[in-house]
């Protein structure tokens, strides 16, 4: 029963992961990725990690929702009426992906993996809680502070008001001496309204 479920979920995770790069609408792509994450989360639940598994589903549902929203924002082509071909160095990528898979699988098959399963009846969620707020508190809190820094950084980066003036005007730092030439690199010429989405190469 567990084995059948595992096989089905793995197949779902891999298939939907593959479909991410094969569908013709980015919203569909991000929800395919979400399906892949949900399958992995359920596998984690099968592997006796109920907190991690369900938290993965929870987090990824939110993350992929935001991703899909960005898709609609940047490319309002929700239903894929317009074609979508946006790949480059295709052969190289296929080779790299296959190589990574083959290498990792070989490593897995050839190495002698230790076998020490989770003991029956272990309170894994309670253990995790004690670990998070006990011995590994520093790591956990560091992750928290990193997330806070990320939030602030993300807001600063994406806001209209850049560090040195409006960001879409191409903000340039002030000179090192009063009235001097701007420090740092000159922004790219044209600043362009040359259009994006060039189609397939």
């Amino acid at each position: 029963m567990t084995d059948a479920l595992f096989l089905a979920l793995s197949a779902l995770a891999i298939w939907s992961g593959w479909r991410v790069f094969r569908v013709d609408s980015m919203v569909r792509a991000s929800f395919q990725l979400m399906v892949s994450f949900i399958a992995v989360g359920l596998i984690a639940v099968l592997l006796a990690a109920p907190y991690i598994g369900i938290a993965t589903i929870f987090m990824m549902a939110v993350e992929m929702m935001v991703m899909a929203l960005f898709m609609v924002m940047f490319m309002m082509n929700p239903a894929g009426l317009n074609p979508m071909v946006m790949v480059h160095q295709h052969r190289f990528s296929v080779a790299a992906g296959s190589l990574a898979f083959a290498g990792l699988s070989a490593a897995v098959l050839l190495s002698d993996l230790p076998v020490r399963p989770v003991p029956e009846g272990a309170e894994v969620v309670r253990d995790l809680g004690h670990e998070l707020l006990g011995p590994s508190m520093l790591i956990f809190e560091t992750a928290g502070v990193t997330l806070l820094a990320t939030m602030i950084g993300a807001v600063v980066l994406s806001a209209h008001s850049g560090r040195y003036g409006a960001s879409d005007a191409g903000s340039r730092p002030p000179g090192l001496t009063p009235g001097g030439a701007p420090a740092g690199r000159k922004p790219e010429g044209g600043g362009g309204h040359h259009h994006h989405h060039h189609g397939g190469h």
Binding site: S25, V27, R28, F31, M34, P50, Y51, I54, A55, I57, F58, A61, V62, M64, M65, V66, A68, L69, V72, P78, A79, L81, E123, V125
Partner: protein, 297 residues
């Protein structure tokens, strides 16, 4: 486990009917008892509509997913001591995952017909639904703190002495904001509101629309049962048997949610977004901090 699942499946249709009746009370339309059934039957006999270049699969599945999420969310609520359909040590997290996926499903429902008004409803809803969900997680962590467990069974058991609604007075009202959001009603109905002519369901008709409304009502039932378990002591209560208490509390929360949906006006989304982030989320932090202080003592 099987007993609990069967009991839930048997109790759900009458509760959904009750939810639909609550929605009719006070609208002056009469036929409170039979009206919802008749209208549902009439809807079932109408055809589904086609739109141009839709995402057929997601359009077909979205109402079903919504219903499934309501069922999964409902399954973690214990009906009586020892009787629960999904006895999971992380029941509250599972409920949170259902909330998050509800936002996704509503988005899919609005996105898949490939029409402007549903799409506007869909992404407006996401902008409001995500912070509302965040808020509910803080409130639910507050409910889990005294129980020292993420299991809903333990959360109910920990309320034997005192219900959480007394211990954390801010919890239930804040949680009801989420209830309004995931059941698409009143002040949080940014998906299906009148100013978008039905929003995400503007292009639906027939059985698809009937199923969507059915799922929306079952989500109200699931939310109310969850609120009853997390804040009103679930099946705990004197004299009457446990399931009856749970039923009564669920009905009370349902009525309160419907009434709140009727009473509070819907703000324009930008205003609501500010209100959520600036007022409601900090309130939920305060609530959580107060619970923490109380538990430490």
């Amino acid at each position: 486990m099987i007993v609990a699942t069967l009991a839930l499946l048997l109790a759900l249709p009458p509760l959904i009917w009750a939810a639909a009746m609550f929605d009719r009370i006070g609208t002056g339309r009469g036929a409170i008892v039979m009206g919802p059934i008749r209208n549902g039957a009439a809807l079932m006999l109408r055809p589904n509509t086609e739109t141009e270049a839709p995402d057929r699969l997601n359009r077909l599945l979205a109402p079903g997913w919504y219903l499934a999420l309501a069922l999964v969310g409902l399954s973690v609520v214990p009906l009586a001591p020892g009787i629960v359909a999904t006895d999971l040590s992380t029941g509250l997290v599972l409920w949170g995952a259902c909330e998050a996926l509800t936002v996704v499903v509503v988005f899919l429902h609005g996105w898949s017909p490939n029409a402007p008004l549903p799409l506007i409803g869909a992404y407006r809803y996401v902008a409001i639904g995500l912070p509302a969900m965040l808020l509910s997680m803080f409130v639910l962590i507050g409910a889990a703190l005294p129980a020292e467990s993420l299991s809903v069974v333990e959360v109910v058991e920990a309320q034997r002495g005192l219900w959480n609604v007394v211990r954390q007075p801010l919890g239930l009202p804040l949680f009801m904001a989420l209830g309004l959001a995931i059941t698409l009603r009143g002040p949080f109905d940014y998906a299906d509101g009148a100013e978008l002519a039905g929003g995400t369901s503007a292009e639906e008709s027939g059985p698809a629309l009937a199923l969507w409304q059915f799922a929306r009502a079952s989500m109200l039932v699931a939310f109310s049962a969850m609120a009853a378990a997390a804040f009103l002591g679930g099946h705990l209560g004197p004299v009457l048997p446990g399931p009856v208490w749970l039923l009564l509390k669920t009905l009370a929360v349902m009525a309160a949610t419907v009434a709140a949906g009727r009473f509070f006006a819907r703000m324009p989304p930008a205003r609501m977004l500010t209100f959520l982030w600036v007022v409601l989320l900090p309130l939920s932090f305060v609530s959580l901090a107060l619970v923490g202080v109380e538990v430490l003592e």
